[in-house]
């Protein structure tokens, strides 16, 4: 070999090593930690580890939103269960999931499909559907949990399967995955549903590169572990405690926050006397080890099927004159809890809904006052019902207004408990319910702007039907969301005024995002009516039985970017 060739080869090898090292050490975590600073992307499920669902993009603003027009759409081809995902966008490529665990990589500027992956679903629990709420992306891989309780890793460039692992047999456990994973450093954190089945919940971490299991946090402690005494007899084995949505992460404190759902049997609690830890709790874990650092239980011994699984919004705000590291977390009960995220100290709780009678209130120490529980054998009016004072679809926080935006649902139920024995993996509700309107008004829904700490509200947008889509807020002073009748809406974040809408042809149950490619801002929203709660609406609004299902992703941008379509904007 000639010297020149040798030198060239050496240079190439060194260059390759450098590139490999840089790519290998590509600071996935750092990029995710700073996700808010690259608003051209939507890197993680809730937009950032702080779960704000806020974007700094402001090209589309309250001043020009009327020029917003659809530029492309995408159809996954399965309408059962609607389209519930949050799309992820990384460097011009969108990753979208649909029902039946289909994953698509799409050119985010043109809508052209790059690759698809169809997971072959095996045994899965029928209670929780086959819909999916999104992927996590990093380390050159795309991660998805599946309805039959697998975690799958795909090559981000080609869509080829790199690894998959069956976490627990979905048919046996009555559990599966519909929520999106969270990538923290070199680990994929993934929750599980199954909280209404006879199942013992958990949160798992897998090594992103190999798929090897790293840790499991059982949400219900086993014999000999602290907290097991909060369960009567063997009830811990089948006590629910699912982790079905996606948590948040504070990189400074190195704490992973996740919500734990209801205990089972949902409505019949006599066989599980005690507080039932760590159900209905926010847990703070060391993401490297899965070790519990602190927990705060919002509802000891829940008998209403409420859930602490919703978004955990991390905010640094003054509380009683002093800046605190806060968690603001809405809850299925219709309350929003405010905690200190360094130690789990209770600070405040406020209600999203006006129609509430499951408790009389929450005292200054966080204790529930005047519990109003279902009874065995007779129907009782309780508000809100199992369908929640709010649904899982996420609220948003704008640092520009300092307000938190959330939907709320004003409805009730007639509920009757019955004793039920656990059957492993089978439904385990211990009662049945019928949706009914609140005593003094018609059932309805609203979307409001709140002070996140005190709950004071500044404007209210009302809707006849439940608002079941997530919110997106932007630096363009816009809030995007969709309604049950198929309208995709833009509201003014300061006034709540409806500025623009587009009829997508099917109701909204997913989560809109925004991103940009080559300097052009886009807004993307899933459209597609479906899901369990949507299916229950005919109990109150018979006409909703005939609301069409669908599954289409719509993407919008401003008309003056190459496409002239002034007529379309109102």
């Amino acid at each position: 070999m000639k010297l020149a060739s040798f030198l060239l080869l050496t240079v190439c090898v060194v260059a390759l090593l450098v590139v490999t090292t840089v790519r290998g050490e590509e600071p996935v975590s750092e990029r995710l930690v700073n996700a808010a600073n690259e608003p051209e992307n939507w890197l993680t499920y809730n937009g950032s580890y702080e779960s704000w669902r806020y974007s700094k993009l402001d090209q589309i603003s309250r001043h020009n939103v009327k020029k917003l027009i659809p530029v492309w759409s995408f159809q996954p081809g399965i309408v059962d269960g609607g389209l519930q995902a949050t799309p992820i966008v990384v460097d011009g490529v969108m990753y979208l999931t649909s029902s039946l665990n289909r994953v698509f990589a799409i050119d985010a500027a043109t809508g052209k499909k790059i690759w698809q992956y169809y997971h072959e679903i095996g045994e899965f629990p029928s209670l929780y559907g086959t819909w999916n709420r999104g992927v996590a992306v990093g380390h050159g891989l795309v991660f998805m949990g599946t309805a039959d309780n697998y975690l799958v890793a795909l090559d981000a460039g080609s869509g080829r399967e790199v690894w998959k692992v069956e976490i627990e047999n979905g048919g046996q456990c009555g559990c599966g995955i519909t929520g999106a994973p969270l990538l923290v450093k070199d680990k994929v954190i993934i929750g599980v549903n199954g909280g209404d089945s006879a199942h013992r919940g958990y949160l798992n971490a897998f090594d992103a590169k190999t798929g090897r299991h790293v840790w499991r946090f059982w949400t219900i402690p086993g014999p000999g572990e602290p907290g097991n005494e909060s369960w009567k007899g063997d009830s811990w084995k089948y006590g629910g405690g699912s982790t079905w949505l996606t948590g948040s992460y504070d990189s400074d404190l190195n704490l992973l926050y996740w919500g734990v759902g209801n205990p089972a049997a949902d409505f019949y609690g006599e066989d599980r006397e005690g507080d039932n830890l760590y159900t209905e709790s926010i847990i703070a874990l060391d993401p490297d080890t899965g070790k519990l650092i602190w927990y705060y239980q919002q509802i000891p011994h829940d008998v209403w099927d409420f859930d602490s699984g919703y978004e955990i919004v991390l905010l640094d705000l003054p509380y009683e004159g002093k800046k605190r590291k806060l968690i603001v977390t809405p809850h299925k009960s219709g309350y929003v809890w405010v905690l200190d995220r360094t130690n789990g100290e209770f600070l405040n709780a406020w209600s999203l809904v006006e129609n509430t009678n499951w408790i009389e209130g929450i005292d200054r120490k966080g204790r529930l006052i005047g519990r109003n529980e279902p009874v065995v054998g007779e129907y009782k009016l309780l508000c809100p019902g199992i369908t929640g004072g709010r649904q899982w679809n996420h609220g948003a926080y704008s640092p520009k207004t300092g307000w938190f935006y959330s939907t709320a649902l004003e409805w009730c139920q007639q509920i009757k408990a019955f004793p039920e024995k656990a059957r492993e993996g089978m439904s385990f509700f211990g009662g049945e319910f019928k949706l009914v309107p609140p005593p003094k008004e018609e059932a309805h829904s609203h979307l409001s702007a709140y002070d996140p700490v005190t709950g004071e509200h500044f404007w209210r947008y009302k809707s006849k039907y439940p608002l079941l889509a997530s919110q997106l807020v932007t630096a363009g002073d816009l809030l995007f969301t969709g309604d049950a009748e198929g309208e995709f809406l833009a509201l003014d974040t300061e006034t709540g005024q409806r500025l623009w809408s587009f009829q997508t042809g099917s109701g909204h149950r997913g989560s809109p995002i925004t991103y940009s490619v080559n300097g052009k801002q886009y807004v993307a929203t899933p459209s597609g009516w479906g899901s369990a709660v949507a299916g229950l609406l005919p109990q109150l609004w018979p006409e909703t039985e005939y609301f069409q299902s669908g599954a289409t992703l719509f993407v919008f941008s401003l008309a003056n970017f190459g496409v002239s379509n002034e007529v379309r904007s109102e």
Binding site: D80, V165, N169, R200, T210, G211, H213, S427, F429, G535
Partner: protein, 280 residues
């Protein structure tokens, strides 16, 4: 509605075709689906299994599953859908959970929620009870619980399938009932490398980035090798594409962990073996 002889014979024929003459001759029972007392047996079963949470709603009022109230049903079709489920949907089959009488009582209950008009098939039906599964000994029952124990992160079922349950990473065990002795099974569990089932020898893949992965090969072709990485439980199925692979070799060591002899007590091991041998 009068129940004619024609329908009777059709129904009996349908029934025999559905459930097999042997079962029906073994045990038969006459059920009148219009009998309110029989339909009322279905009410609590419906509440626990069908109304639940987000499915068909209390008294069939609608949920994730369709509304069942106020509809017109053919009882045979309804029975079959409840028994078998609807493939590729969230409607499961209930044959493994409820006995036939239970499913018929739910059928009668749902018809009672309907329009009040009856298809011919909603009259009297003859049915045979399913012959009960072979009763396990108490030892085998304990063994079954250990084999499938979800609270144990190293349970047997993570890798082994037996009688249509469990994972297929390791050898399927149903046929082992007749071919292996108690002693052989004991040795397989406590000293996995003593004999390794054909097709389950350890494969080692050397990956281009220097990683060495050992486990059980599931599949390979010109493009890739799929390997269950048994360094972790549950074992991920990893796919290595040819351009990533530096070398592939074999080993005479079993991929099964050696810890089961210590993890289980002698009596627990005996229970698990009793279950494997039970031929349930």
């Amino acid at each position: 509605m009068k129940f004619s002889g024609y329908y009777w014979s059709v129904l009996v024929s349908v029934f025999l075709a559905l459930f097999g003459a042997k079962d029906s001759l073994a045990q038969t029972k006459i059920i009148d689906l219009r009998d309110p007392a029989f339909a009322s047996l279905g009410a609590p079963l419906f509440a626990k299994n069908c109304a639940v949470g987000y499915c068909h709603g209390s008294e069939g009022a609608a949920g994730q599953g369709p509304r069942l109230r106020g509809r017109h049903w053919n009882s045979t079709t309804l029975f079959e859908v409840i028994r078998d489920g609807i493939p590729n949907t969230t409607m499961p089959g209930w044959s493994g959970v409820l006995n036939q009488e239970g499913i018929w009582s739910i059928t009668a209950y749902i018809i009672g929620l309907g329009t009040g008009t009856f298809e011919p098939a909603s009259g009297k039906l003859e049915m045979g009870e399913r012959i009960a599964a072979k009763e396990l000994s108490s030892k085998a029952k304990r063994g079954r619980a250990l084999f499938f124990d979800l609270t144990n992160e190293k349970r047997c079922a993570l890798c082994h399938r037996i009688r249509s349950r469990g994972s297929t990473i390791g050898p399927e065990l149903t046929s082992t009932t007749s071919t292996k002795s108690v002693d052989e099974l004991h040795r397989d569990i406590t000293d996995p490398s003593a004999t390794i089932a054909r097709g389950f020898e350890q494969t080692i893949v050397l990956v281009a980035d220097g990683e060495q992965v050992s486990g059980i090969k599931k599949d390979s072709n010109e493009e890739r090798i799929q390997l269950y990485d048994t360094a972790a439980l549950p074992s991920p199925l990893r796919t290595f594409y040819r351009n990533q692979i530096r070398g592939v070799s074999g080993s005479s060591v079993s991929s099964m962990p050696t810890s089961y002899g210590e993890m289980y007590s002698p009596s627990e091991l005996a229970d698990i073996i009793a279950f494997i041998k039970s031929g349930e």
